[in-house]
Symmetry: C2
Subunit: 500 residues, 2 copies
Amino acid sequence: MTLVSAIEKQRQLKNATKTKVAVAKGDGIGPEIMEATVRILEAAGAKVDFEYVDLGEKMYLSGHSAGIDNHAWETIRKNKVIFKAPITTPQGKGYKSLNVTLRKSLGLFANVRPVEAYTPYVQSHFPNMDVVIIRENEEDLYAGIEHRQTQDVYQCLKLITRPGTERIVRYAFEYAKAYGRKKVTCMVKDNIMKITDGLFHKVFDEISKEYPEIASETQIIDIGSARLAANPENYDVIVTANLYGDIISDIAAEIGGSVGMCGSANIGKDVAMFEAIHGSAPDIAGKGIANPSGLINAAVAMLTHIEQNEVADKIKNAWLATLEEGYHTADIYQEGSSLKKVGTKEFAERVIKNLGSIPSKLKESRLQDGNGVIQIPEYVRQVEQKQLVGVDVFLDWGGNNPNELGDDLSDLSTSKLGLKMITNRGVKVYPEGLSETYCTDHWRCRFVGKDGSELNYSKIDFEEIVYLLSKLNNSGYEVIKTENLYEFSNKRGFSLGQGE
Amino acid sequence: MTLVSAIEKQRQLKNATKTKVAVAKGDGIGPEIMEATVRILEAAGAKVDFEYVDLGEKMYLSGHSAGIDNHAWETIRKNKVIFKAPITTPQGKGYKSLNVTLRKSLGLFANVRPVEAYTPYVQSHFPNMDVVIIRENEEDLYAGIEHRQTQDVYQCLKLITRPGTERIVRYAFEYAKAYGRKKVTCMVKDNIMKITDGLFHKVFDEISKEYPEIASETQIIDIGSARLAANPENYDVIVTANLYGDIISDIAAEIGGSVGMCGSANIGKDVAMFEAIHGSAPDIAGKGIANPSGLINAAVAMLTHIEQNEVADKIKNAWLATLEEGYHTADIYQEGSSLKKVGTKEFAERVIKNLGSIPSKLKESRLQDGNGVIQIPEYVRQVEQKQLVGVDVFLDWGGNNPNELGDDLSDLSTSKLGLKMITNRGVKVYPEGLSETYCTDHWRCRFVGKDGSELNYSKIDFEEIVYLLSKLNNSGYEVIKTENLYEFSNKRGFSLGQGE
């Protein structure tokens, strides 16, 4: 087992020298809050060297459609850590999201978002909320593979992979271990998506066994989201797939009252990126009134990533103490309960003055209580015996009588492949459909391997499928897509039709 | 334009006679709460005739794997309305979810879940919450079409259709109109899924124009869920796709404190089903202490569906008055604030006694203020010119150098089809990939129509694809699936790769 290379490298370098970090000052309020945060990092004694890069609006407008130039790419890939203030994507066509580009290109597989409530200093219904959401960041429906196939029907592929799932689940348990967390909750919808979300659940169960000291549980995403929204205090670390994580990490930030206070990390095998979750707020840019807290919390996450947990605790506790004192920026200032409305700089000064203090009411940060460094072994593919046993052929067909289609396709069966069933939007319509089932122009026709005249998912060769496609095409049918049917280790690798 | 046939029929029959309803008493607490609810319906003068059917545990255990026999099917299909108490699905393999079977087989396309807060009688942080979530109920990822394709990769198809989307969006606006609602909010993730969720958003914009008297807005599902969880008072009617709706309807019920109080409707073109959202609670069955409120609210929804809005209001207001009086079942009884802890029967008696009363603090039900009957025209397919311009061929390939694969596949291009790019989990890896991109064994290879040597998505014939597949197979490549690339009215019907 080899370890994540960048972290290993950083560990070796740790005591010798400062960690180099690429820093992007961003747009809008970015430069102000970055300046304030960097001052705090320096005052706290963080062993960090800053190398500034230009990202965002200026780069977009000078002709880089992704908002980044080669120099910035090189600096980021060399330093392996990027600390990034919010950027502005100019209005207009052709500008791609820089965050999506960085995440996908650099393989930032884990999005980590800690959300805490800071009542009574920031309002929330949930004073004891302290949850970390770890979201798979690369695959699922967000792979962005979409096809319009007929007049009626549009499709997006949801891809869940074993390496991607192993990595994110292991990251969640390693995170819990490293930062002294007690429980990891997995959220999936495997009562419906038994194969894709079923894999996520299965991998979670496998890997949780390696961490007996950490409690684990799995919840269905609908109930899980609802319980998170109603009782977030019951959660510690949550790990989930991309789309679900996108939804619940926004729920957590919003109900924690923390959209302006949260930092987030995007972690890759080689590179990691740290940022605030809020935007560049151009309407208040340059006024010196922005709240730097989101970026300060991102800095805390960055320090833990580069194994400077003590400095991370020092900054976090000084920041908590500042909130308690009532030195509040305008966005969280409350007449009566706050002591003084301060600007960005004065807030940072107060945090610096409080370095060494710990909060008296809010929960003290004890990141150093964790146990070591996050280690993710390389994925090792386990090869199962794989056998082709049929094919789902999807047709664009404008008729409305499934029996007409089914009978005709049965006649077109080859000597090796026969029609088993037809579904429309997943519901079986042939043989023996119900008249209430509404049919679109998108027909999934399942042909399976024959054993004599028996349709029993017998082994076939791919050339049989090619022959079938040719025969269907020559008979005037419009094939729009195919999905092969496989068994893995003699177990069915595909779902049955509703009613099959 | 023809109208929904069942509703039309019911309207004609309305003044002539009672509406026949199939009633399932269910399992666990089902029979008790159904008996209580039926007594209230009768006392309130609902024009309903009950025809009892057996569904659920008894049927499962007598050998019907879906929990329903032919007699029950016939009764439901004949009466067109089913009123259903919670059922128990026995533990063990081979028992299919009755709800999924009913929903899919009967084409119950809309799930409707009203959620109100009843503070201070039921605790919630959101006293003014009063939202109706209308969820598409048949398609999306819940079509259940899944395939394992390689050692690493598992896939589920998300299908969004124009007829399905038109129908659910129109249902939402018609619902708002019929029950005096002011605003419909659409939730999608079309910043990522531009083709599938893009269609949902587009159809919503088209149809909202037909209802200028109702406000409309669209939100991204992550932010939308978060805002719903934090400020549900800002929502009125929400319409969304199946998975998103599953999540947010549970969030709404949970934060409203109403899981035990909510009813829900499943509406089809021909048949509609009404039920409580909670389960059969076998632990308290037979004790006479269960809260019938969920089923009472389902009855209210049923009465509006069969156009007995006045009776619906009468029951709802009597029920609200009973909550206010403090006659509470054990699940919502609070020492100090409740007046009396009552059982199922006594609660129903009190509701009957209050028929004619209106609540003094809680919001009075005024369903009769709406405007007419929900009418959904038949879908009319608009046929656009469709042209085949390429194919995505997916390979199971165990190598790890995309350039090796890409160069070889370029050599295998035919005279009409050439390799344009390769992606892995949606990220372009050939030509010109980045070394940081992690690659699974699942390669999407895009071949597009050539014009001479130019790869420019020129028109091709399907037989070119058949020829390419044969050539790839003969060269030793394992094709696992295909997705044709189409233009519709000369516009691209597929997404580009990240980085294409």
